[in-house]
């Protein structure tokens, strides 16, 4: 490339690089530096990390987040994939269903949370539905056993439609001839899905898996609006724990340390996922 070419390339890259530096890397650097300063301390130390890792509330939030992630990601992706496959068939009304499933994405998470909150009240529509079916009334969001599952339903109601659209796009890229060849070889529907659809969808699935995992680590609005981490800390996901520390109890340095820990966990999980998905495509 000529010198002029380099200059113009740099000029084109400048806004994006500048934005990444100012909006991502600079705040991240501040977080790391502040996380190393204990309250009232003047020298750097790992005190904030020692304190956090020994704090039962923070430990609990990590465990809750891990449990939540282990459940929500496979459920969301499996359902998104199932719906994508179903709606990719030539049903006469598949366009309508695709829109209906995608619609919740257009509603802000906070608004969905409020609406679901009303529906899940003891006297809400969901319990009314249970009553109509002759089922006993359920405490839902106010029960330590059910609250996390309720959050999972709310978040998935929004998430599944969103992730489904990526998978539908991927499905439509798979050449029809692959399926014809599989049918000629005598593959049944399940075998076609397993040996044609899934491998061909690997790239889209990798993206959905990584993006969904990251998104679910950062769930905040439904917790803040509906449960505030309760009952009995059973929905105290780590983002809400960080918010509580930073803005409710004003312990900013431990909030920064918790942010660094969360980022590290997310990075490790994402790297593992990339490895797993990536190694497959080289086979």
């Amino acid at each position: 490339m000529t010198k002029r070419g380099w200059v113009s390339a740099a000029a084109f890259l400048l806004p994006a690089t500048g934005a990444i530096l100012a909006l991502r890397l600079w705040p991240a650097a501040i977080a790391v530096v502040q996380s190393l300063l204990a309250p009232h301390a003047t020298t750097f130390s790992f005190d904030n990390y020692t304190y956090l890792l020994n704090d039962p509330t923070f430990q609990g939030s990590i465990v809750t987040t891990a449990l939540y992630s282990l459940l929500v990601n496979p459920i969301q992706i499996a359902l998104a994939l199932a719906l994508a496959v179903l709606l990719n068939t030539r049903l006469p009304t598949s366009g309508f269903w695709r829109t209906a499933i995608l619609l919740p994405v257009a509603i802000p998470q906070s608004v969905s949370a409020v609406v679901w909150g009303v529906a899940m009240r003891p006297d809400g529509i969901i319990n009314g539905f249970f009553a109509a079916l002759g089922l006993p009334q359920q405490p839902l969001l106010s029960s330590p056993q059910q609250a996390l599952a309720c959050l999972l339903v709310i978040v998935s109601w929004i998430g599944i439609g969103f992730w489904m659209t990526f998978l539908v796009a991927g499905l439509q890229e798979i050449p029809k001839s692959f399926y014809e060849a599989a049918r000629v070889d005598g593959a049944n529907a399940w075998q076609q899905f397993w040996y044609v659809t899934l491998p061909q969808l690997r790239r889209q699935l990798a993206f959905v898996l990584v993006a969904d995992t990251v998104g679910n680590f950062l769930v905040f609005a439904p917790v803040q609006i509906l449960t505030r981490g309760g009952p009995r800390h059973t929905t105290n996901l780590v983002m809400f724990e960080i918010y509580t520390r930073a803005f409710q109890t004003n312990d900013v340095s431990s909030a920064q340390a918790a942010t660094v820990i969360l980022t590290a966990i997310v990075l490790v999980v994402v790297i593992i996922q990339f490895r797993l998905m990536g190694s497959g495509s080289r086979e």
């Binding site: 309250p39 505030r228 309760g230 009952p231 009995r232 918010y243 930073a246 803005f247 409710q248 109890t249």
Partner: protein, 423 residues
């Protein structure tokens, strides 16, 4: 277009803008509150009328998010956080963090305008860090029709007849036997503001001890005993669980609760509810203990990072100690400024639709005056209050929900200790 015509156009544009400037160059001052925007309009309009070059923008944030809103904006030294409502028990924490400007310069005026008992809500280490605005008292409301239907006579508002909580719960259960849906509704369900009263009344204390109130004591035997009684109200179905404070007075207004323990801000609203016949008595106390009625509300503070600090001070003084103080009487809370207090009570009385209602307003006024003088207990004024408020709100909701009392209070005690170690 020639170069000349461009220049000419630009010059014309600048001239037009220049001419328009004096008419529109208003200073914008920001007011942050947890009250509805409409409630602030009268005082805002009065100040704008007296200061035509000032425009006040009012922003309202729900109470649950209010402390977090201030913390995040102070963290970035936001110049648009200027005049703001300060939750009275948070004055020490906020002053110690440097989030409030000092008002010792108007000490004489403050002390002349309010009752001596109201001063501590403005003080931190002997200095005035906020201006007096409102206070509060909780009253016990009862539905006359529901009690009559259950054959229960109305309670008396005389101080000698102040009810114990045990009496209230027993009466509430009898009303429920006669078909009333709920016996008792706690307006600020789970919030420390209201729940503290049970523990103060039983002698368990506020949950903080020590000279600087930074030693948690929320799992003492007395606390466990009182919390166990508190849980029984919900376990026995007398009071509904987990109803947000904003939604709770609807239950009483709809005639679905025999008793309602709530703030004086409900008086006018209940008076305007057709078919609701209610009476008020003083807040009950735990049998064997003493009255401990919740109190305090909002002070007015000014941020040291305000873009227009002098103007912010001017407006804060106008709405508290100045000509704007009279508008406090139009709001939901009881004015701390003595001159606006009578007007507040007169307005509540004016909303009563019949003679019985007007008599109740007289009772309410007498009860409020007595409570403010003899029975109220403030929330602990400690730099750790914000943490206590947050941790205990969740703890009370868990106890309501049926969690084991001792385990829950032990966990709260540990969480408070852990968080206080960071102050």
């Amino acid at each position: 277009m020639t170069k000349r015509s461009v220049l000419l156009g630009a010059a014309t544009l600048m001239a037009v803008l220049g001419m328009a400037a004096p008419a529109t160059a208003k200073t914008t001052l920001h007011l942050l509150t947890a009250q509805p925007v409409e409630e602030m309009q009268p005082v805002v309009q009065a100040f704008e009328a007296a200061n035509p070059d000032v425009k006040i923008e009012t922003e309202t944030v729900p109470y649950e998010n209010y402390a977090a809103e201030i913390a995040s904006r102070m963290g970035s030294q936001d110049p648009t956080l200027e005049v703001y409502f300060v939750d009275a028990p948070q004055v020490p924490a906020m002053a110690s963090k440097g989030w409030l400007v000092n008002f010792d310069g108007v000490k004489t005026e403050i002390e002349a305008a309010i009752n001596e008992r109201a001063r501590p809500a403005l003080l931190y280490k002997g200095g005035y860090w906020a201006l007096p605005y409102t206070t509060s008292v909780q009253l016990l409301f009862y539905n006359k029709d529901l009690l009559a239907k259950a054959g229960i006579s109305n309670p008396s508002a005389a101080e000698a007849d102040r009810l114990t909580w045990q009496q209230v719960v027993d009466t509430a259960k009898n009303a429920q036997k006669a078909g009333v849906k709920w016996g008792l509704q706690l307006e600020q369900n789970g919030r420390y503001y209201q729940s503290q009263s049970f523990f103060e009344s039983s002698g368990a204390g506020p949950g903080l001890t020590g000279d600087d109130l930074l030693t948690p004591a929320v799992n003492t035997d007395k606390w466990i005993q009182t919390a166990t009684w508190y849980q029984s109200i919900f376990n026995t179905g007398v009071a509904p669980r987990n109803i947000a404070a904003e939604q709770s007075n609807d239950i009483f207004r709809n005639g679905d609760a025999a008793f309602f323990w709530g703030g004086t801000w409900n008086l006018a609203r209940f008076n305007q509810t057709p078919g609701l016949h209610y009476g008020v008595v003083a807040s009950p106390y735990i049998a064997g203990g003493k009255p401990a009625t919740p109190t305090d509300a909002w002070d007015i503070g000014v941020s040291p990072y305000a873009a227009n600090k002098d103007l912010a001070r001017k407006f804060a003084l106008f709405m508290t100690l100045g000509d704007g103080a009279k508008y406090i009487a139009l709001g939901a809370h009881i004015p701390l400024i003595a001159s606006a207090y009578d007007e507040y009570m007169k307005r509540a009385r004016d909303t009563a639709v019949d003679d019985a209602g007007k008599k109740e307003m007289t009772d309410a006024r007498d009860v409020m005056a007595y409570e403010l003088k003899y029975a109220v207990v403030s929330r602990p004024r400690s730099i750790g209050f914000v943490i206590l408020d947050d941790v205990m709100a969740r703890t009370f909701l868990d106890i309501q929900g049926g969690a084991d009392v001792k385990t829950t209070l032990d966990a709260a005690q540990n969480q408070l200790k852990s968080s206080f170690s960071r102050l």
